[in-house]
Symmetry: C2
Subunit: 104 residues, 2 copies
């Protein structure tokens, strides 16, 4: 399992619209091959910051599969306008795990 981690800074005046857009976008990622689960959380220390955690079976299920899909084009259209700055995305594996271990 590979955990995608993105800290999302959202334009402060647009947080309600972002949360609403995220609800609409959620099925797009949830239907992608290799998707396991996701959660969006809100930061206590910085009110316009969110944390997106997505569990994927392999790194490539996210970086190749989802990002080259039609669904991702719609995901971007729904969510990217809210980010300032544009977020950095990282992936984390369990200690000792290879990021492609789950691939068939």
């Amino acid at each position: 399992v590979v955990l995608e981690v993105a800290v999302l800074d959202v334009v402060s005046s647009m947080q309600d619209a972002f949360e609403e857009s995220f609800r609409k976008a959620s099925p797009l990622i949830a239907g992608s091959a290799g998707y396991i689960s996701h959660e969006l959380r809100r930061c206590v220390e910085k009110s316009n910051r969110y944390l997106l955690l997505v569990q994927w079976q392999t790194l490539e299920d996210h970086t190749v599969g989802f990002r080259s899909s039609q669904q991702y084009a719609e995901w971007k259209r729904l969510l990217h306008p809210f980010y300032d700055p544009f977020p950095m995305v990282e992936h984390y594996v369990e200690l000792g795990q290879c990021p492609t271990m789950g691939r068939q």
Copy 2:
């Protein structure tokens, strides 16, 4: 539930020692009041980066309870020497949740 999130950059030559020290330190946090679970993961993109996720019942279980405990003094002694730079810690709640909602 409040999720503590810390991105840990570890001195590159000391990663094995850090992972060993983390194993020793784990029972210190796991025995703390309000602790639910934790995981340490390794970054795919940056080999000396780790992500620590800890679930607490409330924000104060971490920021007041754990951090003022004897166990935290030992946690610091075991782990803080490995960090460069010293990490920023943030807390994340579910959308719409108040950070102290779980407190009795």
